[in-house]
Point group: C2
Chain length 440, copies 2
């Protein structure tokens, strides 16, 4: 009311003496590069639990070269892993759990790391991954930053103890899987009961089943894709560009100076938009403003803006910028079209798909996955904009038309978008448990 009267007064005044008008104040603008890891979380929705995991995992060290699909070489490599449930005598009860982009090996809390893991409620006695029955192993991927060899690891060939930075070779999902199976070799695990993964973990899971069909008993891929489509590539491209535009990124050699926190924050802001769905945000944030008593300005204003800001700020401290770039690129490049690499990538480099018809593209995809004949569960979420449900159907259709008669395909109607696999213990958990424990 006071404001209204004030405005009327100002207006009257200006009518009489417009030249005495005060200049408008400067609109409030955000300090975009302010990074405050303690920003208060926006309440009201389930958020996945991601931590900067620096301990509590085991390391499988491989003193052998790993030649990557696109040419670079790791002279040696380490894989960080955690496990739950007892390994049985003939080592036949192993489930290999693959992570998405931001996930570490810490899927579930245990005595060495009490923080809740990213699949905390899916793993345990009687749960979806039943630790009374199975020995679950989760690894951090090659290229990651949670203990496995990645761009932030020391380059053993550098003289001064320098980290790899962008000397780390381009890594593919196939390389990640080959490294995991070298770890299984070292552990004497010949055959998995199942390969399980969501998002990029689902890509790994599919690749594992196709490359090592005799070593994968059952396949589960949730909210994944048999090949990335242009919209997903576009969304990840925008994130990488924003990150690489931060001068602190310094072409990937920032380990002895300030890391590109601002670029990471902005990249994660974009990513967060792709992880959830319109219906969830309608319900959770609507058009509610964070500080309704303030006039609008350019600082985070609507609740959805403060939420995105917070998600961005949080991520800076838990993830390595170069890992984000390498792994997001690996997701873009993922394509199960024939010919896929065999166990030995050096002898089976993937050809580039020429611009071909839709039918022949599908045929190549079917052929690339033709070794996947084990029982398979494909889960998709109708509100997922990053890995849309038609991509799940594409996987299931290709497998079925390729002759796999034990393909289960479910579409979920949850509102949590791509993040559903982290949240929905009921719908996701039930399907997973059923598939792992059913007698086929």
């Amino acid at each position: 009311m006071f404001r209204k009267l004030q405005r009327i007064a100002i207006r009257q005044f200006h009518r009489n003496a417009p030249n005495l008008l005060d200049r408008n104040p400067i609109v409030r603008t955000p300090i975009v590069d302010k990074i405050d890891p303690r920003t208060k979380a926006v309440e009201g929705g389930p958020e996945p639990s991601y931590e900067n995991v620096v301990s509590g995992y085991s390391i499988s060290t491989h003193r052998e070269t790993l030649t990557m699909l696109h040419g670079g070489v790791l002279p040696e490599f380490k894989i960080a892993y955690e496990s739950w449930g007892e390994l049985n005598e003939d080592k036949s009860n192993v489930i290999l759990l693959h992570t998405g982009l931001s996930g570490s090996s810490h899927a579930k809390s245990h005595s060495k790391n009490l923080h809740p893991g990213w699949w905390e409620k899916f793993i345990g006695p009687g749960l979806a991954l039943d630790t009374d029955k199975f020995h679950i192993i989760c690894t951090n991927v090659i290229g990651g930053c949670y203990g496995s060899t990645g761009p932030s690891s020391v380059d053993p060939l550098a003289k001064n103890g320098e980290r790899y930075g962008t000397r780390f070779p381009i890594v593919t999902v196939f390389d990640m899987v080959r490294a995991q199976f070298k770890m299984l070799d070292a552990m004497g695990i010949q055959k998995l009961h199942a390969s399980v993964g969501s998002s990029m973990g689902g890509m790994q899971s599919i690749a594992a089943a196709a490359m090592f069909p005799e070593r994968v008993g059952r396949l589960i891929a949730i909210s994944a894709a048999a090949r990335s489509h242009p919209v997903s590539i576009a969304m990840r491209f925008a994130q990488r560009q924003v990150l690489m535009a931060d001068p602190n990124w310094a072409n990937g050699f920032y380990y002895n100076s300030s890391p590109p926190h601002l670029g990471m924050k902005l990249a994660r802001t974009i990513a967060t938009i792709t992880y959830r769905s319109g219906p969830e945000w309608e319900e959770r944030f609507g058009r509610v403003r964070a500080n309704p008593e303030e006039e609008p300005s350019f600082v985070p204003d609507f609740l959805i803006e403060t939420y995105l800001n917070h998600q961005g700020e949080k991520f800076c401290y838990t993830y390595d910028a170069n890992s984000l770039i390498y792994i997001s690129k690996a997701m873009d490049m993922f394509d199960m079209s024939h010919p896929i690499p065999t166990k030995d990538a050096v002898l089976g480099s993937q050809e580039e798909s020429p611009n071909c018809s839709k039918a022949s593209a599908l045929e190549k995809l079917q052929k690339g996955m033709s070794t996947i004949k084990m029982p398979t569960l494909i889960l998709g979420v109708q509100s997922d904009i990053l890995f849309p449900v038609w991509q799940q159907k594409e996987i299931a259709d290709c497998l079925r038309s390729g002759g796999n008669e034990r393909v289960t395909y479910y579409e979920l109607d949850t509102i949590y978008g791509h993040d559903t696999f982290l949240i929905d213990t009921v719908n996701v958990g039930g399907a997973v448990k059923g598939h792992l424990e059913m007698d086929y």
Copy 2:
């Protein structure tokens, strides 16, 4: 083949002498802040025509204050406009055409500006907006940068000829419309045959019909919204953050130094993702790589990446950064919920909606649009992710339940997403022509 043999050789060699291994080369990274306005356009799809319009328009100058809804004041203001077709004697054949965010008054070529306009094929004799029948006026909005008063205009109250920058007051869609009607007043145009607009132009069109119901004969809103939803806000928030993070933005006072071209490029990269659709990009780009003979790296690699890069680079030179921030914020704030401002914004400030139930929110929306009783055409596109089709239905439903018996609502199945209104002369054009020329 050579590469394969080379890799095998390298590998053999390393097995024998791993310590003599060469370090991996640095992966190629993009020069993200390279801005080359001459980057070759990616062929294969229809692109809207946006130019940096600096001449060929007329100016309506208003030497009176314009007090904005959220408090700031323009001591005087100018509106740039262009027109096509002859004004009839009683000035009853006027169509006011409203623009989207990036649009200028240059909707159609004419003798003073021969460049094709953004609705080139929709305006002309016998076309959707028939210049044999109607006098079409298109304005550049207040806050824009194509001739109307905006953040890049000189602040008349500054002593040193400084531009407004972020001293420009927060502008709303309602302010844009009030300014347009002051222009119509000055032109002696009492009643419009129709108010027509797409995207933010559709928001203006709806606002005009609600604020000035006795002056708007027919309403057309295409791919618009009665209120922005959190996903659209999120997508625009990300763009603004990325832009404001560019140090060259300098809190909006960059007019005497280097403009934030990099921020603009990155913002437009994100925006472009929201303007099109998955199906179009599947068809147009698929997974084709720009330079298949090169090994993957972090430079724009897939065709979709080079396309986004090009769209971003092009935009830097045609649009003002502050206008992007102000107008994108105006879109976020747009809400037709009761109470909407009356003709005189000073006396009718919009209250903030508290967090209320869905039913009561819809009721407020219906009430806010209750003056819209003229024949109305609402068009939506099923593949639009920025203004999803449910938002079009929301407009139509609210108008119908509010008692408007002449609401036409069409959903289009084109693959062009939000950009459909710029491209699809057949489906959009036909509906528009029918609505404008039918005897109600």
